[in-house]
Symmetry: C4
Subunit: 261 residues, 4 copies
């Protein structure tokens, strides 16, 4: 049947790709805690190392509960057995130690956004450097279209984010988008799955790095909004995040399998 | 016979070098599948890591067939046993899984260019950042002359490249050159051997990195076209690519020999 | 008791965080020599590698004595058994070999600042590059507020710092601050504990890197002084440095436990 | 005798330092071939990796003979047993394979400079990027003063350097200096010992990186020539190069001891 597909139009080819991907590609079967611990490791290995700063949470089985990493441990130290289950007030329901007090704004955002299952906040270095300029993240590359028209911008820094005020401000500013650039601070990603949140966080920091590299040299050119939205939807299919996450998980586990313990 | 060569002119010395290199230097003896898997690893280790993006193909033994890596696997996971043999319609003839739907433009390019044996397309980060500026790659260093006057430029982004339209556009834009910079996207290299394609891809990303580093600081100065073409032909001798590839293959296999399995 | 904390104001939440952190977080129990050797390793692993340049000292048990690393060894080679105990004149009281003659300005600074227990001086590459511009370090990110209003600036280079003149000049310029940027040279941090000095050195180089990344692209925006000072005091609590240091120590020891020998 | 040294002037302290360093610091005892192989490895590990480009030579025991690495091998593959002994015409006297034809200019330079014992030429990436701007290397940091007023500049690229013309041009341009920046090409260092050449090559690439980092952000400020020359002489003492080289050698051998075989 060679050559048949050379007559198909783009929409037909896209639909055909979806059918094939549904058949041939699977994500990996990890539980929520494993996914969260893996995400910590994956982010550490992809430029999100900033000492003890940053937090990751995912909704627990019971409403108003959240899995999160333990304060005082780096992302590279996360493993299933040292995660915490906390309530909205950050009281520990399961596990030893305490959560990061800055998790407070996660509670606000989960209340405001029932669609959100996972929140990631990091101070990855290129995002942090870009945030000092008080300019929005420029999306001008196909890969970064996963974030096209999906990054809100908090252009003023409200100080250390441990108060309820910051929870309200952040929830309001991100609105219904998946991501937020916080001036003088870092990135926030709020997604419908841990896998998607992990992939978008990697994309965010890479986009910030590319923004800095390109803008140091010349003028970043805009891309066609219609094509950018098409790419956004193509990359953001749930299955694609699952497959991407499974890849990064294999890559991380190749070096450090203790994460799943 | 000391001192004799001090009287030779440059052309004589170049010819003498060729004779010596033909005698003393050999490439390594890998089959096509081994070369392709090695190329994936080498590129991953030399800055071409961008998650699951990018594709590599080489012509198979039968006309209209292509070896390629499996969708859902990173370049760092490629090995002989997980490569696919596909036809022009991307139907799998040998192996499990599916090819990247974006391989479609490879089929168009192989049709248009009978001289091409291997195509590499990646989103290496400096190339990707440079591509956001919609400017051509500047070749201004001796090493990069391997690409002198050999990089076409697609200055507008046509959207996700899974349609036949993109196949036509890319084939037409690259013309008879060996390389192409795709705005808001990445690089493409189309060569007469896997070894050459691998070496040119490494050179492309390094040239993009040098372009960004230099242009962030000052004005890149042009080089003399005649000398640049001389360097281009000197570096591009088939044997030189083979020797360079053999070196990078040894370097990769030193850490991960599973690639050849 | 869910939801109760949503009515607390920021100051109440901060105080609550302090109580929880005092209960749940501890630093690690290393002696002075172990902390000093660990600091050398941690700095090496976090961008402070510059060959044999740089010195670290901490006050010894007897007044006028200092622990320091041995000249001719890199930070990556420091271990408890090769540290030296020296007096103010840099005469070796315990250990083999000699101290760096540039330690002289440490003696001056310890005299001038009884509160200082540990001094770190390095030529970390981004700090060193920034220092060539003769501009102060710009603090414009929450994490870097640990250094807000706490970095003095020596804008002229007095030559190689082995004389008593440089000791006087440096002591005078840093005044009562915790840090100093030395033009055409590097960074200096003078703190009340080894842990704090280690954390501030990491923060200094990261801040310099962010300064260069951001300023190459646009104009760094100032942050609100009141909020910056609040963040400064929040991050600088002694316990926080201890917990951060314990984390970096675990990270370093995971790869190289010989440091404690 | 505490406090006595606080009354010494800078010159007295410098002389005292020399006495102490002569007593306490030694270089390592390697033979010429071991030093040359180690230098290849050290350069590879410190940013001088550019595939198969670059050459290193040192004078052999007999006049008109040179030790060099074998063409087709990377710096990371150099070991005592695969080095070559060649004459001025690049004929192999000992060992298998051939030398890089671009070694020709080394022969010219050894003839012109009887003081030179070792020549290193690499295309380290920051040096190579800087060389595209056709501007001299700016020395504006204490550590880089090892190269102060000691870097000549070849501002035009003469093409691939395999001819006798390039040998003449390079010898004439470097004059009596220790280093040379070759536009659109790379760096050259010519020193009285392998150790010094190794240390200056590391310093050169680091200085180029700092030049690019700083100049992308602002205006590099000049340093006081008198102080810079003082620092130059201080850093360049033969013993200091030996001690620095011994440190980098230990660091390299920690990971790969096969270099000495």
């Amino acid at each position: 049947m060679t050559n048949n597909t050379f007559n198909l139009d783009k929409e037909q080819l896209i639909q055909q790709s979806f059918v094939q991907m549904d058949k041939h590609l699977q994500g990996a079967e990890y539980n929520q805690a494993q996914k969260l611990a893996l995400t910590c490791r994956i982010l550490f290995e992809n430029g999100h190392d900033s000492g003890l700063a940053g937090q990751i949470t995912a909704r627990g089985e019971k409403p108003g509960t959240y899995l999160t990493q333990r304060l005082g441990f780096g992302f590279d130290e996360a493993r299933v057995s040292n995660l915490l289950l906390v309530n909205e007030d950050l009281e520990v329901l399961q596990g030893d130690g305490m959560a990061n007090p800055a998790n407070r704004f996660h509670s606000w955002l989960y209340r405001a956004r029932p669609d959100v299952q996972c929140i990631i906040h990091t101070h990855a270095v290129h995002t942090a450097a870009l945030s000092m300029l008080e300019v929005p993240l420029e999306i001008s590359h196909m890969d970064n279209c996963v974030l096209y028209d999906d990054v809100a911008f908090l252009s003023k820094w409200p100080g250390i984010p441990v108060g309820n005020e910051e929870g309200e401000l952040i929830s309001k500013t991100i609105g219904s988008k998946r991501a937020l650039l916080l001036a003088h601070h870092g990135l926030l990603v709020a997604c419908s799955s841990i896998e998607e949140a992990c992939m978008l966080s990697i994309a965010f920091e890479r986009a910030a790095r590319m923004h800095l590299l390109a803008a140091a040299t010349g003028k970043i050119q805009p891309i066609e909004p219609k094509l950018a939205r098409e790419a956004h939807d193509w990359i953001l299919r749930a299955q694609r995040s699952a497959v991407g996450f499974a890849y990064y998980a294999r890559r991380s586990l190749r070096n450090n399998a203790d994460c799943l313990e």
